[in-house]
Amino acid sequence: MLLSVKDLRKIYHTKQNEILAVDNFSFDLKEGEFVAIVGPSGCGKSTILSILCGLDKASSGTIKTSKNLKFGYMPQGDNLFEWQTIFKNCLLGLEINKQVTPENKAYVKRLLKTYGLEEFENAYPSNLSGGMRQRVSLIRTLATKPDLLFLDEPFSALDYQSRLAVSDDVYKIIKKEKKSAIMVTHDISEAISMADRIIVLSNRPSKIKNIYEIKLTNHSTPINNRKAKEFAQYYDLIWKDIDYHV
């Protein structure tokens, strides 16, 4: 077990009142697993991620991780530094941890090359498309060699076409580098096409409404997974769970 969360609870205190954002949240993550968390707007998805990766404190509950587990967190948006080159951007985590060794630099260069960004090493973020920026952002996180990735709506800034393409790319990268991942998203199809397991949250205070093991025939890449015959069934089930009031 990579990560074991039990009875997580988070209360935000504001001057006006207290907001119970997360309640009774428990789950286990297996090694190499890709878990998606879906739920209505403002239900507490980002809150869960930032607690899991240690940026926020839970009000109660326990989080157990296997020893020496390294986290990589990607907050909403690509968050590239416009004033630095792509290569420099990718070194950010390494610089902060004072690990800019020749080996690590070579590793970053290899990642950039593998994922088609080699010729943009010395370009600035403003010269890249949204999809490329998102890939750079992922490489920046991968550069510190995390075992577990936390992705907060990684594709929300992209238009539909690049969303499909980039989610395919990002999925392949994560699988190829053998990382485990927890991804938050609004998009039910995106979750079904990428995840091994989907946690559906209720409205605030977010409790787990359902957990789905995704089993698709001919499971392959996200774009192809969308063609699987079980896809629509999962979609219906989750749609009903979330119970959007339009």
């Binding site: 990589g72 990607m74 909403q76 968050n79 530094f81 004033w83 610089e95 941890n97």
Partner: protein
């Protein structure tokens, strides 16, 4: 090579730019000419309104008795010194306020009051404290410029993207790493804007100080001119100031371009 249409487009842009510049120059030339003609035909009272020729004469005579560059030098020195010191102090204090949120909250009402207080009213106190000399003038300029620099720069620092900060925190960045890798570089253009506001205020402060201290500098020239009813001297001072202020402004633009490469 570009297509014909594109070449035409570029040509048009160039022509348009040239036309703007040309009109700008035309306006100033016309103004000077009209001013001079009005003076020659005694449509205006040259005792009060002076005239371009008289101003030129005044500049030449100031130059020949060696005082022109002395006064310009004194004012420029005071401006540049106060500007550099004021900007550095402003950014340092803004950094402290960013780092220690408690301090920022405590000082907030004081900064607001100091910002809206007409700093000229501090003149007499400054002169008593620092004496009638360059020190007082620089202090005046600092009082006028530093508060607004602090407020502007601090505001900019506080507006840094929270997601970028969280990203850095997830890499376990220290406060100083967050400052030097994110807050400072991401606010480069805001700091330049603060500088542009700052240089204008420093000029006001320096001239104000020279009025009060009355020893040397372009502000002193203007003050002295008005006391002996030599309006040519006053006008000359104003024109010198206009030239110096725009030179300083373009200097900042130049530095901005240099640094943002």
């Amino acid at each position: 090579m570009y297509s014909l249409e594109h070449q035409q487009y570029l040509k048009n842009i160039k022509r348009h730019k040239f036309f703007i510049r040309f009109t700008q120059i035309l306006i100033i030339v016309l103004l000077i000419a009209i001013w001079q003609l009005a003076a020659d035909f005694e449509l205006i009272n040259t005792f009060i309104a002076s005239s371009p020729k008289e101003i030129l004469k005044t500049i030449v005579s100031l130059y020949s008795d060696g005082s022109l560059f002395h006064h310009i030098g004194v004012t420029l020195y005071e401006v540049i010194f106060s500007f550099v010191v004021g900007t550095v102090i402003g950014i340092l204090i803004a950094t402290l306020l960013w780092r220690f949120k408690f301090l920022a909250k405590v000082l907030d009402p004081y900064l607001t009051v100091l910002n809206s207080l007409p700093k000229v009213s501090l003149g007499p106190i400054i002169i008593i404290l620092a004496g009638a000399g360059t020190g007082s003038i620089i202090l005046m300029a600092l009082f006028i410029s530093v508060i607004i620099t602090i407020i502007n720069v601090h505001q900019a620092f506080m507006n840094a993207d929270p997601n970028k900060i969280r990203l850095m925190q997830s890499f376990k960045a220290t406060k100083s790493q967050i400052f030097f890798k994110l807050i400072l570089p991401s606010n480069f253009s805001n700091i330049i804007s603060a500088c542009k506001v700052g240089i204008g205020l420093v000029f006001i402060g320096v001239i104000m100080g020279e009025f009060l201290v009355s020893k040397a500098g372009v502000g002193y020239l203007i003050m002295y001119g008005s006391q002996i009813f030599n309006l040519n001297l006053v006008m000359t001072g104003i024109i010198l100031l206009a030239i110096m202020a725009s030179l300083m402004y373009y200097l900042i633009l130049f530095i901005e371009k240099r640094l943002s490469k």
